[in-house]
């Protein structure tokens, strides 16, 4: 008993000792747990709170509403319209197969489209929106609406999309929008920032150049979501800003006329205000309907545009470089006058094809077989005598010519970096040839440069600017296409004279007047006698290939020559002559002859432009009054 009791005392001592050890351990562990809790919940609270919010809050961005583009009178050129769309949230549909087949029948979808939709459905989560169609016709849209009673979960939606009411009329000015691709996102910070799937961004033209201004900012919806990404409730809706709208200087009536005039032809027309530089119309033909691109162009339409031999995708006004032909003659004349090479009475005898100008074994023909006889400046310009200008160019030299030509805006981009597609053209001089081709300049090349052939290349918009600066009396202007462009820096050398003696400009102007309004002038048949509309111009016919002796003998009519070998027809003009305001340039690719193809268009155009002028000026006045 004593033994056992001492044993149990020992046992009790042991167990109590061990209990004490365990108890202390427990206390330490408990302190550890509490400090861990303190660390997580108090010290690191901010970090985990952020993580928790990141978990539960998700943002949905909606596509921003794009700013509109209007013409000078406020007509919408690129606007937004309500696109009728059909959405389905698969999760909310009881019998998806039934509904989707029903929708297929109602919308008369092709099997290909249908498969596409089914494929899209498999790629998204069941609670995400499936866009069955993004641009329904009103007819189909109302049909769906009529059948909604047995289409559970189908949602007809009206969403905002781009639309170009003038269709092909403005394509080469405004461009078009289409779904943003990786390149677009990569190259633009603002697109990256506002990107949502299906966002449409400018691809060419002003839509691209002014992307940053037009795009606007996203609407942002903040939702609380659960672990599976399902939206539980909306926390916030942040309205985005609509893109800024853009007002152009273009008059859509004139623009429409340019489209009519160049219908079925390849070419370009541009019209410019000779004082403000405002572009009134700018068209490159053929054009295409930009609306085709908004929802992604179909393969057939795309092939049709791509394979058109007249190249609708090329903006001929800015990208097309052509030999200016005789339209360069006013500059040649002006340069010679300015440099004192010739005076008003300088005369050359044009003796026709039998006695061409000969130089180092090369012959240089005038266009007129019989020759013009003795020509002074005014007559040579009026009748566009090549022989006269060969002689003038020979005496002037290409370097002095190129200097004047560059002064008047040839050989460099008219709009600066506004359009990234714009070409510089080429105004050659001796230095250029040495650098670019490594050869020295030949005198013969000077001679053909005098009639706008050879290396010289200009774009239609450059010719228009050149004419405008002759028309306004020889003052520098800066062309613009955006009406209220606050960003444009005030040009310091605006209206600085480009001449040494204003009388020289007068002489050239007078010669151009004669060319259009006097008998035997090359565009005499396209004249308007009413001084209100009377204009002065210069025709041009740019050779596409060298004329051989054989051609000269055959002397074929335009329609007898294959299309690609026909000459380009050009015409530049400004008017009204008494009180000039507008200049234009017309180019018809392979149009044959400047005086028969291009000049008649100018007649129609000037009628329209001058008629619209009154309205335009009243708009201006109104603007000033408002200020």
């Amino acid at each position: 008993m004593i033994n056992s009791s001492t044993d149990s005392v020992k046992k009790l001592n042991l167990i109590n000792r061990r209990m004490f050890i365990t108890g202390s351990l427990k206390f330490l562990v408990m302190v550890g747990l509490v400090s861990r809790l303190f660390f997580l919940q108090v010290k690191e609270n901010k970090k985990y709170l952020t993580l928790s919010d990141k978990n539960r809050i998700r943002e949905w961005k909606l596509a921003p509403v794009r700013g509109e583009i209007t013409d000078y009178f406020g007509n919408t050129i690129a606007g937004n319209f309500e696109a009728y769309q059909l959405h389905i949230i698969p999760e909310q549909v009881e019998d998806f197969r039934y509904v989707i087949y029903r929708v297929k029948d109602l919308l008369e979808m092709s099997d290909k489209e249908f498969r596409k939709v089914l494929k899209k459905k498999n790629e998204i989560k069941p609670w995400e929106t499936l866009i069955v169609s993004d641009n329904l016709s009103w007819k189909k849209f109302s049909k769906i609406n009529n059948h909604l009673y047995d289409l559970n979960g189908v949602k007809p939606v009206i969403s905002i999309s781009r639309n170009y009411p003038f269709k092909e009329n403005f394509t080469h000015v405004v461009g078009y929008v289409s779904q943003a691709n990786e390149n677009d996102i990569e190259n633009s910070e603002i697109i990256k920032k506002n990107f949502v799937p299906g966002l449409k961004v400018g691809k060419v033209g002003l839509e691209k150049s002014f992307e940053d201004k037009l795009l606007g900012t996203n609407d942002i919806e903040r939702y609380e979501v659960n672990a599976y990404g399902r939206r539980i409730n909306q926390l916030e809706f942040q309205k985005g800003e609509k893109g800024k709208s853009l007002k152009l200087t273009i008059d859509s009536e004139v623009q429409k006329l340019t489209n009519e005039l160049l219908k079925e032809k390849a070419g370009s027309i541009c019209v410019m205000d000779i004082y403000t530089g405002a572009v009134i119309a700018m068209h490159s033909s053929p054009s295409f309907d930009p609306n085709l691109f908004v929802f992604g162009i179909g393969q057939d339409d795309w092939q049709l545009i791509r394979n058109n031999p007249m190249k609708p995708l090329v903006n001929k006004t800015l990208q097309g470089t052509y030999s200016p032909g005789s339209t360069i003659k006013p500059i040649v004349a002006l340069s010679a006058l300015e440099n004192g090479i010739i005076n008003n009475n300088f005369a050359v005898n044009c003796r026709g094809h039998k006695n061409p100008l000969e130089l180092y074994g090369q012959t240089y023909h005038c266009w007129k077989k019989e020759g013009h006889g003795f020509m002074n400046l005014r007559n040579a310009m009026k009748q566009s005598c090549d022989t006269y200008f060969y002689e003038v160019a020979r005496k002037l030299g290409v370097d002095r010519l190129s200097e004047t030509a560059k002064k008047f805006g040839l050989g460099k981009e008219v709009f600066g970096d506004l359009f990234n597609i714009e070409k510089k053209g080429l105004i050659p001089n001796t230095m250029w040839k040495k650098n670019a081709l490594g050869q020295s300049w030949l005198l013969g090349e000077t001679i053909i440069t005098g009639i706008g052939q050879g290396y010289i290349q200009t774009t239609p918009i450059q010719l228009c600017l050149m004419t405008a600066q002759i028309g306004n009396g020889g003052y520098k202007i800066y062309p613009k296409i955006i009406a209220d462009d606050e960003n444009s820096v005030s040009q310091i050398d605006k209206f600085t004279p480009l001449y040494k003696d204003s009388r020289n400009i007068k002489i050239v102007q007078d010669a151009m007047f004669a060319s259009t309004n006097e008998v035997r002038g090359t565009s005499y048949r396209s004249r308007i006698d009413d001084p209100k509309y009377q204009f002065a111009g210069k025709t041009g016919t740019a050779q596409v290939k060298k004329i051989t002796e054989k051609d000269r003998e055959l002397d074929l009519k335009t329609f007898e020559i294959p299309y690609e070998e026909r000459d380009h027809a050009l015409y530049v003009a400004y008017g009204p002559y008494k009180n000039p305001r507008y200049a234009l340039s017309i180019l018809v690719e392979h149009g044959g002859n400047g005086s028969t193809t291009a000049a008649p268009m100018a007649k129609k155009l000037f009628k329209k432009i001058i008629d619209r002028d009154l309205l335009r000026q009243s708009m201006n006045k109104k603007k000033y009054l408002e200020i």
Binding site: S4, D7, S8, K10, K11, L12, L14, I15, N16, R18, M19, T22, G23, K26, V29, M30, L33, V34, R36, L37, F38, L40, Q41, V42, E44, N45, K47, Y48, L49, L51, S52, N55, R56, E224, V225, N226, A227, Y228, I232
Partner: protein, 375 residues
């Protein structure tokens, strides 16, 4: 005084027993029950749905059962020590052959009105069994090879039966319960040190024997970010929930992590996470204090118990409880790899609650019959 108690010892009146109740322990258990109910209500999204109802019923039934158990003389619990162990072993074997399969393991047996998880009961029965085994043993015999081997067999047999289910977590908890008894029984502390050292040395080999999913858990524990949406998801989300709770929590029924279903297993093993998110550091610390008070009361009942059996049971049960709580919390706080271990009373699950309540019942019985000696 001594005389009086000695005399009244044999004729314990009902009211006497009632007076001997440990009311602090009872109050803590009831408070814990109430908190667990509220938390369960929150996991159901603020509605009284299946889990809340079921948890409530279990809580009421098992609390009443505990109270009844506390009136049963501690002698009785001593007497069924071996028997209960054998019964649960039999149940485990039954489960091994006829148990219900669910999510890759076979842990439950179908008792028609309740699906019982015998491995949970084993946590308590192994303590009863070993406590009885050591009750009458002389101290010099405790460290004999025979005793050590027997007690090891008693521990390893159920462990093996549970591991094959497979359920590593519970089998570890059973082992810890058993080892706690051996520790308090007085087996030489050198053995423990050797075992721990041996375990640490053989750890790499043990890991190579682990199942792929268990290895993954260990790897995930070491670096949860290696697969944040897969294996590391649970622990990352759990830490986010706890950490975002802050000092005062997001408020009752406002835990976004649980509401938006970011939390896995929020009814069972991860219930503390939800509680912690909604009630913050203050709430969590309070919950820990309640647990601490419960364990403290269990130990002090052990101290005041006259019989060695009651003492060793109380100490071991207190230690085991502490380990369950610690392992569960460490797991959800990212201090231990994820092993399936419920938080006593708080977690949803009948068997676990049954086992815990039986334990409380025996402890309470020890308190009520604290002057009862066992021959």
């Amino acid at each position: 005084m001594y005389q009086h108690t000695r005399l009244s010892n044999n004729s314990f009146g009902f009211f006497q027993k009632f007076r001997n109740f440990d009311y602090i322990l009872l109050a803590c258990i009831l408070l814990l029950g109430f908190i667990s109910l509220a938390t369960m209500y929150s996991t159901d999204g603020g509605n009284i749905l299946f889990h809340t109802k079921s948890h409530f019923v279990k809580l009421v039934v098992f609390t009443i059962m505990m109270l009844i158990f506390s009136f049963i003389n501690i002698k009785f619990w001593f007497s069924i020590g071996y028997l209960s162990y054998l019964i649960v072993i039999a149940l485990l074997i039954w489960t091994y052959f006829f148990g219900i399969k669910s999510s890759g393991s076979q842990r439950w047996m179908d008792l028609y009105f309740i699906n019982l998880q015998p491995s949970e009961l084993m946590k308590i029965c192994i303590i009863l069994c070993l406590a009885k085994y050591f009750h009458r043993m002389k101290l010099e015999n405790v460290n004999s090879i025979y005793t050590i081997l027997t007690s090891l067999i008693i521990i390893i047999l159920p462990m093996g039966l549970v591991i094959v289910q497979p359920d590593l977590g519970t089998s570890l908890l059973i082992a810890i319960s058993g080892v706690a008894v051996i520790w308090f029984a007085g087996i030489n502390h050198k053995y423990f040190i050797y075992t721990i050292m041996g375990f640490l040395i053989s750890l790499p080999f043990i890991i190579s024997f682990l199942k792929p999913y268990q290895k993954l858990r260990v790897l995930t524990f070491l670096n949860p970010d290696r697969d944040p949406l897969g294996a590391g998801y649970q622990i990352i989300q759990s830490k986010i929930a706890v950490g975002s709770g802050g000092i005062f929590g997001k408020g009752f029924l406002k835990g976004t992590q649980s509401y938006l279903e970011f939390l896995p297993e929020k009814h069972t093993d991860f219930i503390f996470t939800l509680f912690s998110e909604e009630f913050g550091f203050v709430g969590s610390a309070t919950l820990l204090i309640i647990y601490a008070v419960i364990i403290y009361r269990i130990i002090s009942i052990g101290i005041s118990s006259r019989s060695y059996f009651a003492k060793i049971f109380c100490y071991s049960f207190g230690a085991a409880m502490f380990v369950y709580i610690t392992i569960n919390m460490s797991m959800v706080l990212g201090l231990l790899p994820i092993v399936g271990s419920p938080l006593p009373i708080m977690s949803y699950g009948g068997s676990s609650m049954l086992a815990t309540m039986i334990g409380f019942g025996v402890v309470m019985s020890a308190k009520v019959h604290s002057q009862q000696a066992i021959a």
